[in-house]
Amino acid sequence: MHLQDGALAAVFFVAVFVPAVAGMILGTFSKSNKVANVVASLCIVSCLAGASTYFLWRAGVDLSYTLPISSATGSYMLSIDQLSASMMSFSSVIFMLIVVHVVKSTSDSGCRYSALLNVLFLACFSCMAADSVLVLLFSWEMVTLTTFLLSKNDNNEKARWLFFVIAHIGGVLLICAFLYISSVAGTQVLSEWRDLGSSLGAGTSMILILMIVLGFGSKLGLVPFHAWMPNLYASAPIHTTALLSTVCSNVAVLILIKSIFSYIGASPAMTWVAFAILALAAVTALWGAMESLVQKEPKKILAYSSMENMALVVLCISLGMIYFGESPALAKLVLIAAVLHTMNHAVFKSLMLMTIDTVEDCTGEKNIGRMGGLSKALPVLSAVAIVGVLSMAAIPPTNGFVSEWLMIQSLMGADLESKGMSLLMPLALAAVGICGMMMAASYARLYAFVFLGRPRSEGMKNPRPMKKGTILPMAILAMLCLGMGFFATVIMDVISSGIVSVTGMLPEPGYRSVMSGELLPFVLGATIVAILALLLWIFRGEKHRERSTRTWGCGGRLEDDMQYSSVGFSQPLVKVFHPFYGDTAVVKESESKDEKIVVTEFTEPFVKYLYKPLSAMILFLSEKIGKTQTGNIQTYFAYLLATLVVALLAVRLL
């Protein structure tokens, strides 16, 4: 069913936009910080309205609405299709939980921050709902700008600006690509773009797809655009990071899928670009996994984990392009894996970011090397965190397991005509396997060195109690981690219908027809619960004798630092994979004559060998160009004359 400009559409969009706009205005012009909570609640109201897209999707309604404003380039339109509806309702829920956490955790967040949250929600929502090129590009730019503003914190100007620059490199690519497609399509209404690949030509389509992937990749953290992630994650306010990593990524993945499979339309002629993207995604995933192992700040571990997860999603999308022509059912399966993994990532990543923020807030420590033993002091937090960690590490029966299962299934399902290309599938499988295990090691390290062991600093021994109510959004997210794992098959059916409607694939054969195994997360989960219950029941009777003592320390007394360190934990892996860590040099700093401090530092090779030389070159060039600007009017006349002569010659000769 399709509803055009009806009363329902108007009511719906009013319900979504009006509270957020009101919040934005109130937050911007209010002077007192007391209204911050009111502003945030307005955002929550908008989120709730956004989450109601769920019912649109349930009813199978496509909604479209023309905004009551227009310009020379045409009117501005919004529309919600089935895939957008599922993504929107889901993202709104995540957005709402994060805003709830903002309200509960920060007593003085200020109403500017809350106002910007409203703007970000508006931007994300209209980006997902955009039906005109201008709305899409404008709201995507708004997403970038708002996150840039939201990430303001003490001493993070450099990290912010790096993000700003890299996000805009992506933005430029997107603007060029979309405006070019728009000129070829002859209309700027996105829903009228259908399989433009045939009129664009295979070569142009491949370039455009690459531009769009790289454009969104700058936000998702594809190599080499990931350079902004670790520092921004470490320095920006946690809620900004959470929104950037979850809701903004959801937006990017949604538009990416729609652009490739609906607007341009994948065809077998474009397989080469799909393989290029596959390779890029695999490299990004491995890079993220490897770098996450040596990070010293929990937030940076999560930054690289975001990068790895999003790379897996892009990998699925590229597989979807490869399969699209040959086996639609397999393409469906792999796109379901992509969307499901995006959603799962949003759940567990926002959960973990909130957890780590709580840890930092309660203890005042940022360095994982000085953490440890927190599960004694904050047992509830550690219970919530273990769910998130298990889910990130893809341990059954959590949601992470289901999407990894689907990914491996879709890699194995490949039955391609070209034998040479099929050879790449085992390599991709190996890459997914290795980075999955590396991330699992990294998450074990993250959890164990924050929550387990003995406290390594004073802040860890006596942490402040958690702020009231902050546990609520975290507990909901932890439940989602488990629930989305248990009931994954239901969600997959939902996503499947969305993908069918967006890509124009036939509903039959369904994605289940190509699955070579049965995915039964519910049965698996229920069995695990049953066995655990049985074991507990067996051991229920006799009172088990238990004695508590100090950890055995070879007869001596263990000091705080006499336990395995987080650096030591990953050292064997660093040693095995040492060529990839670049300059893992041991830096020796001697502050005084008697004392020498030895520090192991891992510098991101991309920053050192790509970005630093690049920025040095740009500075050098601008200095040279600067010398031509003398300020003397005669010189400028000379330039004008020279330009004129060159231009005339060029016109005459060409």
């Binding site: 599960s375 059954p396 034998k419 950890t551």
Partner: protein, 314 residues
């Protein structure tokens, strides 16, 4: 699925669980005989388990709730696998018996072990965990690839029953380079995953080279019993997988009593051969240095990758 079949499946899953200490005992006995010792009885592991269950546990005061949960999780994951491993009959009890789930349940076990090693904050546990993490990064992909190769050779999908029965059905034609490469990789994986010599020495404690025992340092009493049981079960499951997935001939595909009887004899012979092989390996080869291990594990990984690629090339 009729009741007789269900009964057979139940019997084989419980048999797998019941005999796992015996297998450990037999390997110990083989080793003792090779070293000209009398050795302990093959039933010694049962006695050890009984003793451990009766003893009180000593828990570090730094240990959290996870410390008590981890033995349960470990044994649960191994029971999950026991329910999906064919032993005397190719059909298995578990409805979730697909190979990807299998690899991830092994990961679940490892993940719990690694966290368990870091509980309590002793240096030994941390060292064990750290090395286990290093090994798992190389082992698990090899395991995944070799098992996936098996699924691809047969074209039977991911269901363990289907894989094993279609290899049996193909007879000698199933012996292909891919199967042999994957099988070799699986053997290395089996030795590494179960932390046997040359990767680790299961008999030592308090040696700076240890991996698995290091992670168990802080456990005692019932917790240790569960962890030991889970480790023995893991070895048995790996041996059974080698015998029924990679070289499954002889395993009963039908419910005919004769087939089942043959299958029982064959699987006993297979298990004894594998146990003898492990004992021989442990008696003749010295333990490797820790940083030599990645070389061996990379060999396993490369073999499994080659197995996969050979499917497409040959």
């Amino acid at each position: 699925m009729n009741y007789a079949e269900l009964a057979i499946m139940l019997i084989q899953a419980s048999a797998l669980v019941m005999i796992s200490p015996l297998i450990a005992g037999i390997i110990g006995k083989f080793k003792a005989l090779m070293q000209n010792r009398v050795g302990a009885s093959i039933f010694q592991p049962y006695r050890d388990l009984r003793k451990l269950i009766k003893k009180e546990s000593v828990v570090s005061e730094n240990a959290s709730f996870l410390f008590r949960a981890i033995p349960l999780v470990c044994i649960t994951s191994m029971l999950l696998l026991a329910a999906m491993t064919p032993f005397i009959y190719t059909g298995v009890l578990a409805p979730y018996a697909d190979v990807i789930a299998m690899v991830y349940i092994f990961t679940m076990f490892r993940f719990a072990m690694v966290l368990g090693g870091l509980e309590g904050g002793s240096a030994f546990g941390g060292m064990g965990s750290s090395r286990e993490a290093m090994m798992s990064v190389l082992i698990e992909p090899a395991l995944l690839l070799s098992i996936m190769t098996l699924s691809a050779i047969t074209g039977a999908g991911f269901n363990i029953t289907d894989i094993s029965s279609s290899i049996i059905g193909a007879g000698a034609f199933a012996i292909s380079p891919a199967l042999l490469l994957a099988g070799t990789s699986f053997v290395i994986t089996m030795v590494a995953e179960n932390t046997r010599v040359p990767f680790d020495n299961p008999d030592t404690h308090l040696e700076l080279t240890m991996i698995h025992e290091g992670m168990l340092m802080e456990y005692s009493g019932r917790g240790l019993a569960m962890m030991e049981m889970a480790s023995m079960l893991r070895l048995t499951i790996f041996m059974a997988l080698l015998g029924t997935l990679f070289f499954p001939w002889g395993t009963a595909v039908t419910m005919a009593p004769l087939d089942l009887a043959v299958s029982v004899v064959v699987i006993i012979a297979k298990m004894l051969v594998i146990a003898f092989g492990i004992a021989l390996l442990e008696s003749t080869i010295a333990k490797m240095r820790v940083f030599r291990m990645p070389n061996m594990l990379t060999v396993s990984f490369a073999l499994s990758l080659m197995a996969m690629i050979s499917l497409y090339v040959l």
